[in-house]
Symmetry: C3
Subunit: 155 residues, 3 copies
């Protein structure tokens, strides 16, 4: 992890071959993120693929591995929002993730799916990316997406 101290989040993204997409504007009556004091609350981001909802239930249509990729995709979109609204360089710490997995009622590996998001934050922010987290299975997610991700960051 020590290498991360030498690179900025944007340099880490470049090393990882990730180009942040344009921020996704909410389709509903809310905003992408709100800063209050030193905390930034980033709205729930659904997983997308090719610009559309990454649909499916993990445990049914989707495997753990695909769910993990979807979680990573949601994390990339959340990074785009953080960058547009705050600037990744101003992020001091990723504080907490809430990872909602669109699950069948007998799928019990939401933690492995959520790692797709957690590992990306660690790769991009190094030690500052080590976060608290809750992950669990929900009945459904808007647009039928496989994963929804909410982030609290410190600036």
């Amino acid at each position: 992890m020590s290498a991360h101290k030498l690179e900025t989040p944007h340099e880490a993204l470049q090393r990882l071959g990730i180009t942040l997409p344009a921020m996704v504007r909410p389709v509903a009556a809310f905003v992408p993120a709100v800063k209050s004091g030193h905390l930034v609350f980033v709205s729930g981001h659904i997983a997308r693929k090719d610009g559309r909802s990454w649909r499916g239930k993990v445990g049914a249509e989707l495997t753990v591995e695909t769910g993990k990729e979807a979680a990573r995709a949601a994390a990339i979109d959340a990074l785009s929002t953080l960058d547009s609204e705050i600037g990744l360089g101003k992020v001091k710490r990723i504080v907490k993730l809430l990872v909602l997995v669109n699950s069948t009622t007998d799928f019990t590996e939401q933690h492995l799916v959520a790692n797709g998001a957690s590992e990306l934050f660690a790769e991009v922010f190094g030690e500052a990316g080590a976060h608290a987290r809750s992950a669990f299975g929900v009945a459904q997610i808007p647009f039928g997406s496989a994963v929804e991700l909410e982030v609290v960051a410190e600036v």
Copy 2:
């Protein structure tokens, strides 16, 4: 929205014809809201109708439109709590909503249901009501309510 700058939240409620009900005391071992620093964490409020739980699953017994009305009802109760515990006039910003929709496993429009709450906060607080948000479908909600709403506000 500019008109909102000229009116207080209470004036906005009056214009909307909304009379805040008496605050609902939790029936369990917790409190309606906790202030910590400049943030107020408002407990999850279930949707009520005529003083009782507004029961039903969206996608089964309830339509999107009814779910949206239920979300608005939960928001009115959360406003009552904010007013009783803090005072609406002291709210600087609605920071984040967590909107839980009691959904069937194939209903995917939780965002439209949640707009019932989001739009009310915008109507009452104007720009200060623009919030971050996560909305998703859950297996059930206490008392079988259609919607549960948690609020973080800045004072």
Copy 3:
């Protein structure tokens, strides 16, 4: 409750006959808790029994009473994390609980299950344990656990 002012959280635990277990290290890519300013965000803790996941759905394999015991067990583990990472003596307030209950789709008493956690915080911290709370039923929880508990505390 006034008696609580005279005892520390550790003394309360001793009175209750509770020995905190060793902190459970997350099995995934995140950390047990993150402090940001005066707030501590404690990761979601699943209920455990005899060191393993306390499995089952409330409303099916588990009764309300058993679910409540599971919620209490998750709270004990969350206390262990708070003590290891921050020290219980530094906790000024339990701010908010998020209590996820692994529920069937027709079980509607998540609030009674969640009281297992809420009541323990009240017993250990007295008035400082009075918290905001959201509780609801989810489709599943990692490792099939009956309850997952997330805590926000003020230090």
